[in-house]
Structure formats: structure tokens, C-alpha cells
Amino acid sequence: MKEYFSRFAVPDNGEPMIIASQILIVIVSLGIIVGLTYFKKWKYLWNEWLTTVDHKRIGIMYILSALLMLFRGGVDALLMRAQTSMPENGLLDAQHYNEIFTTHGVIMILFMAMPFIIGLMNVVIPLQIGARDVAFPRLNALSFWLFFFGAMLFNISFVIGGSPDAGWTAYFPLASTEFSESVGMNYYAIAIQIAGIGTLMTGINFIVTILKMRAPGMTLMKMPMFTWSILITNIIIVFAFPVLTVALALMTMDRLFGTQFFTMSNGGMDMLWANLFWVWGHPEVYIVILPAFGIYSEIISTFAKRNLYGYKSMVFSMVAISALSFLVWAHHFYTMGHGAMVNGIFSITTMAIAVPTGVKMFNWLLTLYKGKIEFKTPMLWAMAFIPIFLIGGVTGVMLAMASADYQYHNTMFLVAHFHYVLIPGTVFAVLAGFTYWWPKIFGFSLSEKIGKWSFWFIAISFNVTFFPMFITGLNGQARRMYTYSESTGFGPLNFISFIGALGLAVGFVLIVYNIYWSTRYAPRHVTEDPWDARSLEWATHSPVPAYNFAVTPVVESTQAFWDAKEKGTQLFRGKYEPIHMPSNSGLPFIMGVLFFFFGFCMVFGMWIPSIIFGLAIFACMMYRSFEHDPGYHISVEEIKETEKKYGVNSHENQLA
């Protein structure tokens, strides 16, 4: 019995930090259960959230989970900076440090950036194209729950069984059972697999939504730029994620069933993992950055009070980026040992990406030119993005040169580079989008004052944290080293980095405080269009009613709502009609739970329970196949009543 349960122990059990988190997790979970019971919220939680298929609520849950993961990954980052702040620091040992940088990478990319973006696209896209929901609402809920339980499975690794510790890239042979003996890398393979299936479904769902459910009149070339960026992003998702699915499946087989795909003997090829990982991994970078480009396009054009400059070139450059993103992956392992020809080819394709990206940069600058710029919080993020991302981009071109890369490879220079791309590119963007669309979701704005404080804290501290890494990197500090000697001279700059990391922490705490403060004190329902914006999502009420639009809007240009305000074009023509809506379902949540237990049993090689859970998953799918689910209708009276609550007295009023 004891032997059976000993597998769940963390290898270096006894580490005070891990014991503390174990206790904390138990207390918090108990607290949530007791709280829900005490306030009698179980039914509310189940009916309104766990079973919902409403894209807006699913979006909110995505964003909440992403914020939660941002703090998990952020604590990892703080611990890393604290450990390296001084030479030969003893805060973390090598093993613990390995685990932390691994989970930091996985969580920030897959469980923070991706869900944050998917959350925003869930909330905004159907509204922006004038639709009532996504094409497959039930599938959308399943996507979310698969992501959520995948993320949870990954997160419990550090208190049950041991964290993954082979880097977020999980290179073989290090990630094989020979060198990573704990179950950590099993968690990696299976948790990301589960979340990845959810992401793939999201990709299909949103391609269909955008292609098939746009409001009448909205041709492809009249779509708002954010919708375009999301369409391209989802196309990349659909083409890139299957590679990860296959690579992770091979990894799972290697680790659990003793196959030899990535081993160094018996015909295995260890570097094939790196190859497959980056065939997915590089497009993945564009999956998290293209939506950011879309968000910035919306925000810059709104706050510069100008039409987006170069609409067509924006679209074409995104299409070019999506194709090029599949042609550059080998630049992640220039030093692996291939010849000058291969490195040359991939150098050229990599540098070529700078061209369409540059086109977009100039388009934003030209949108700003002669604009009446308003520096609201979302706009501040966008303005900081341009110069900081430029530094990231230029160092990227430096890294793209294969011969020079032999110097930069695996140093802190690289770490500085990708944080200079991903933080302004993705984190600033989702924070900007979060602030920008918050009033749409909740019907009140976040405080500008606290928002600006958090912006300045984050923007400045970001540079304080990551700029020194360019220098230490060029001086030869390798990444992923848990400590260094004093004679290297890396100490002072690393200490500056640590101070910056503390500043970043303050900035993120301010964002949470802003949510708290604004929820309590911000004035409600000031206006439905607080930023004087341009696209369709602002044409409906805030918070958005369940049916989104009482009457389906008709679109004539790329900025339908702006034209309605300025030129008086009519968005809503026709009269109220009963609206068909999808019914809620508990099945996606139940399937998520089953996937969680299936994955957990797989991680520990407990075959019989995992077969049972696997069969239960198939049973759910069978049930769904035979289920009759006609949805329901919202009657005209109900629509009138709801509209009345928003202050629209009669249908005629709304048309005027």
C-alpha cells in the first residue's frame, strides 16, 4: 500500500517551499468548496458557468484562467531572478531551478499567452463580425475545458510526483526516461496533449465562424483587422498543432511504452524531437503574436481617431507571415550540426519575416501620423509596444544570422531577445485588449489612473529586467544555469534584473488591484461606447445581452460602427425576430474532468483506471452523437423586455 502511494511523492520531498505549496493548495481548495457551499453558489456555478456555451462567458473563463496562470508563471520568474540575483546563491538547488524554468516556459506560452488570446477572441470575434455565437458553441466549451484541465494537470505536477525539468523545449535525450526519471516529463507530454486538442478545436471553430457567420455585407476585405488576425492565427493553429500532437504522442510512447523514436540507439533519432518541436514551435510564436498585431491595429486606429493605414498591405503581410512562419524552424537549432547550406536557407527565410513585419510597423506609424492621439491606457500599451518590439525584432535579425548565432546561442542574449518580442508583442497586447474590451464585457471601465500606474511600472521594469541580459549574454552567461561564480562578473547586472522583476511584480499586482477597485467603485453604464471606437462590437449594449444583437447588423465598410456614427448609415435594418440559441450542456465539463483523470492515470502508468477513463470519454462522445439538441428560441417579447432594460424603449428607437 505504502509502495503504491510512494509514486505520488515529489522526488525531493522535504523541500520547505514544496511542502508549503502542498499545504496551501489543500487549504485553498477546501476554502473554495466551503465558500461555495456557505454562499449556496454551487447551482449558480453549474448553471451559469460550468455548463455554459455562451462565447462571452467562455471567453471570461479563459481570461480568468490565463490571469491565474500569469501569476503561477510570474512566481516562477521571480524565484529564478531571485536565485540568480547574486553569485552562488543558495535559494534554489539545481534540480528545483530546472523545474522552475521549465514550468515557467510552458505555462507562460501555453497556459497564459494562448488562453488569454483565445479568451479575447472568444469575447470579441462573434461581436465584431455581427454573429450570435461561434459556429460550434458546444465544441467551444469543450475546447475550454480541455485547456483548463490540461493546465490543471500540468500544475499539480509540482506537488504530486514531481515537475517536468527538461526545459520547455523538452529536448531529447534529456527528456527520455533514461535522463529524466521522475514522472515530470510524462506530465509534460500528456497535459500539453490534452490542452493542445482543445486548441486545435478552437482553431477549426473560429475559422468556420469567421468564414461562415459574418454579418450581411461584411466581405473578407471589409473585416476589422482583429478579425483578420484571428482568422490567420487559427489557420496557423490548424496546420501547426497536429505536428505537436504527433510529436507528443511519440514522446509519450517513448516514455511510457519503451518505443525508440527519439532514443540514441536502435535507429532512434534524438534530434528529430527538436526538429518536430520547432516545426510546431515557430508557427506557435506567430500564433501568439498575430492576434496582438490585430489588437494593436484596433487600438491605434481608435485612439488616433484615424482609419487604419494600408488595410490591404496589413492583410497581405499577415498572410505572408503565416506562410513564412512555417519555413524558418531550423533557426532554433543552427548549432545542431547541419551544414552551411541548411543554415543559409533558414537564415534567409528568417530574415525575410522582418519585411512583412516592418510593413506593419510602418502602417501603424502612418496611422498615427496626423492623428488626434488620445493617450488612454490601452493606447499607452500600444505606444510602448512599437519601440520595445523593434529592439526585439532587430536582435532577432542578429540571431537569424547563423554564423553569428554560434556566439549568441543558448546565452542570456537569446533570453533577452525573446522576452523583448513576446512581452511587448503578446503580454502588452493582451493587457491592452483586456483594458480596451473590459467595458464591453462588464459595462464599466477599469480605472485609468491605476491602469496608467500599472503601465508605467510594467513598461519600465520590463526594460530594467531584460535589457541587462543582452549584456550578460554577450559576455557569455549561459541560460538555464542555476548559478555562477563571482569572478564571472555577472553579479551586478543580474541583481539589476532582479530589481526589475520586483517592479514587474508590483505592476501586475496593480492590475489585480485595478480589477478589484473598479469592480467596487467604478461608475456603471456610463456609455456603451467609451472609447469612441469603430467596429461592430461597440454597436451593441454593454454588458452584452445573451443574444449579442437584437437585430443582425448590416455592414458596408471596414469600420461599420464609425460610419453609423459619422455618416449615419443604418446598421440595424428590419425588425425583431425570435432568436435561436444553443442550449447549455454539462457534457464538455464532464469530458474535461474525465480527460484530467485519464491523463493523471497515464502519467503514473496506472493502466486499468486509465482504460476505464478512456472508455468513459468515448462513451461521452457516443452519447453526444445520439443526443437530440435543438437549442431554444428567445421570443420577441423577451428581446423587447431585455432591450428595455438597456434603455431602448421601442424598436423604432433603436433604428433611429
Partner: protein, 96 residues
């Protein structure tokens, strides 16, 4: 309606053609040939087989949205070919 319109010429032709392609692919097993020739035969017949499925049986070019269907098919082909050839290039041909 004459017998000509009722007789599914396209389907029969496609069916016969796919049978022929299967037989040609089987030649690789029946005859002793160098591995490279075998792989080339298999690849060519496999792609033709896929094409026949798409055109003859799945009617890829017959609906109104054929433009977007062709675009996505070619994009998928492009990505698949790039991934496979690129992997061969980085892992085998270009390896020193």
C-alpha cells in the same frame, strides 16, 4: 433523360483508375527493385490516389466554394511538403 446522363462514367472511371493505381503500388512488393525506385513509385501512386479521391469521389471542384477548397488543399499540401522535405533536409541531407 438518356442512359448517358444516368450512367456514372466519372465514378466508374475513378474506381477503375484507383484499382489500377493500387495494383501498380503492389508491384513494389511483387518485384525485387531498389528501395529508392520503390519509394518513388509509392509516393507517386499515393498522391495520384489522393487526387482521384478528392476530384472523382469528393467532388472538390463542383461546389460554389471550390476556390476556397482548392486554396486550403494547396496550402495544406504546401505545408506538408515543406515539413517533410525540410525535415529531410535538416536531419539527413544537410547534416554534416
Amino acid at each position: 433523360m438518356g442512359i448517358k446522363q444516368l450512367f456514372p462514367v466519372k465514378h466508374i472511371a475513378g474506381f477503375v483508375f484507383s484499382l489500377v493505381l493500387t495494383l501498380v503500388a503492389l508491384l513494389v512488393l511483387a518485384f525485387d527493385m531498389p528501395a529508392k525506385t520503390g519509394v518513388v513509385i509509392l509516393l507517386v501512386t499515393a498522391f495520384m490516389q489522393a487526387g482521384i479521391q478528392l476530384v472523382m469521389f469528393m467532388h472538390v471542384g463542383e461546389s460554389e466554394d471550390r476556390k476556397s477548397i482548392y486554396t486550403s488543399v494547396f496550402y495544406a499540401l504546401f505545408i506538408a511538403v515543406v515539413t517533410i522535405l525540410g525535415t529531410l533536409l535538416t536531419m539527413i541531407w544537410g547534416y554534416e
